[in-house]
């Protein structure tokens, strides 16, 4: 156990050192204009971001983007789980649904956005793309996870005369939970990316809108500040997902 703690501490120190090194390098490149004027110093971005006059702006934009991402994540997860359960109970539907999902996923979201624009209000395009991105990851994780149960567990359920519904709810879904949680972890970032791409197509507010407007008006610090918010938020959710994953794997396997 002590050896394990030691390893964990060492890897935390290495990780922290890596982050500090990265930020120092960022600062150095920005200060000395090594990569030109479009690479600002880290401290400039941070002071721009935490300027009290812009609090409202960043808050509104973040709330808008994150609620689109959250809505898309929730809806995509729901659709992914329901569809995966459906094709699991009716395997005849599986190959077609697999192919349709892969096809939709292989079309770049940026190409689909204008089509979504025709069907949903401008401010929902982000959520629609976030939904699609989350759906695909959750669907793939769930369809493979639902076949996770071991043969001996399936035998026990057969011998005990379990119905299809019981087999799904009491065996296959719980057995699928670990890979599904891993999928959810990746679906969060995919949903955030989807929301931002969607916002490029005429949303009224959001981090994606800030990015586009900063690019068009050459506001380098604003651009980097928006990207920094997105990165930090994604990393926080990824970290939470990793914690949830650890807990679920310990309990469900």
């Amino acid at each position: 156990m002590r050896g394990l703690d030691h390893n964990r501490l060492a890897s935390a120190i290495y990780g922290l050192a890596g982050v500090i090194l990265f930020l120092l390098l960022w600062e150095f490149i920005g200060r000395n204009r090594v990569l030109g004027s479009t690479w600002p110093a880290f401290t400039d971005v941070v002071s721009y971001l935490f300027d009290p006059r812009r609090n409202g702006l960043f808050q509104r934009a973040s709330t808008a983007t994150l609620s689109k991402a959250a809505g898309g994540f929730a809806l995509g997860t729901f659709l992914g789980l329901v569809t995966a359960s459906g094709v699991h109970v009716f395997p005849l539907l599986r190959p077609g649904t697999d192919r349709l999902s892969s096809f939709l996923h292989s079309v770049p979201a940026i190409a689909l956005a204008p089509i979504f624009l025709i069907f949903v209000p401008r401010d929902f395009v982000g959520m629609a793309i976030a939904t699609m991105n989350a759906y695909f990851i959750v669907y793939i994780a769930a369809t493979s996870g639902l076949n996770n149960s071991t043969k001996s567990h399936r035998d026990v359920f057969t011998v005990l005369g379990a119905s299809r519904l019981h087999r799904l709810t009491l065996l296959d879904l719980p057995a699928a939970l670990p890979p599904v949680v891993t999928g959810l972890k990746y679906a969060v970032s995919a949903a955030i990316v989807g929301a931002i791409i969607g916002e490029w197509f005429g949303a009224s507010r959001g981090l994606g809108v800030l990015i586009v407007s900063a690019m068009q008006n050459y506001q380098i610090s604003l651009l980097w500040a928006a990207v920094l918010i997105i990165t930090v938020v994604s990393l926080v959710f990824y970290g939470l997902g990793t914690l949830a994953e650890k807990f679920i794997y310990r309990r469900f396997t």
Binding site: T150, S152, H153, D155, V156, F157, T158, V159, L160, G161, A162, S163, H166, L170, L171, P174, L177, R251, F252, T253
Partner: protein, 262 residues
């Protein structure tokens, strides 16, 4: 449940059952060759044989996990499938097959949920006590030892008071000492229920100590070539295993298991 006056009635009727597997190379493997076996109500029968003799296949056929290539199996006059569907079958495998995300109590109560019945908490509690897992109700399988998991698995098999109990090497993965101990426990538990039981094992001692009748099978093709009524009275104390008569029977069965010509 049938009343105890019907002790001599046939519970499991296996008639001319064969099971042929088609191998990848296109050849056929006869795992079971025209097996005839009748098991009486409340009888404990052990299927003994070397690995690959088809004894597990036999058990899977009775458990309705597989279907015979020819011949028929009926349990209390109906198809094994009906017995499973009516939740009247109890099974414990070598792999305990407890659900890792449920507590021991929930695992043992699982058959109630699958039968769509309200869990009888008192029954679950009494079985937990019977198999000696009191105090571990809220533990998860991963927190228990191998022997404790097998006991939980046997409790789960018994909880609905099944008409037929099928045991496939339930202690096969345990060490010799734990295994002997578990056999003593199983003998005691079985004595309190007297359920028609089919045990598959390759351990001569286990078969002799637990069963009323031992069926010895030979491999390729799987056939019955010896039957033995076990004379020891019940309940059987562990000391039975040290009697001279026990050792004689062990020798006889061990000899029977030797490949021909030895």
């Amino acid at each position: 449940m049938l009343d105890s006056t019907n002790q001599t009635e046939t519970a499991i009727d296996i008639e001319a059952v064969s099971r042929v597997f088609r191998l990848n190379n296109g050849k056929d493997l006869t795992a079971l060759d025209r097996i005839d076996l009748k098991i009486k109500e409340g009888e404990f029968v052990a299927l003994l044989g070397p690995s690959g003799c088809g004894k597990s296949t036999m058990l899977r056929l009775v458990a309705a996990l597989d279907t015979p290539s020819s011949g028929s199996i009926s349990i209390e006059g109906s198809d094994p499938r009906d017995l499973a569907r009516d939740h009247r079958l109890g099974v414990a495998f070598q792999d305990h097959a407890l659900l890792p995300w449920l507590t021991i109590r929930a695992n043992i109560g699982l058959p109630y949920r699958l039968a769509g019945r309200k869990t009888d908490d008192a029954r679950v509690a009494s079985l937990i006590e019977l198999v000696g897992l009191k105090g571990f109700e809220d533990s998860r399988p991963s927190q228990l030892s191998g022997g404790m998991r097998q006991r939980a698995s046997i409790a789960r098999a018994l909880v609905l008071q099944p008409d037929v109990l099928l045991l496939d090497e339930p202690f096969g993965a345990l060490d010799a000492v734990t295994r002997r101990h578990m056999n003593v426990e199983l003998q005691r538990i079985w004595g309190e229920n007297k359920i028609t039981t089919l045990l598959v094992t390759h351990s001569v001692d286990e078969a002799l100590f637990l069963a009323d009748r031992v069926i010895v099978m030979s491999a390729r093709p799987g056939r019955i070539f010896k039957e033995m009524q076990i004379p020891f009275a019940r309940p059987r104390a562990p000391e039975v295993q040290r009697e001279a008569r026990f050792h004689e029977l062990v020798d006889e069965l061990t000899l029977a298991l030797e490949p021909e010509g030895h």
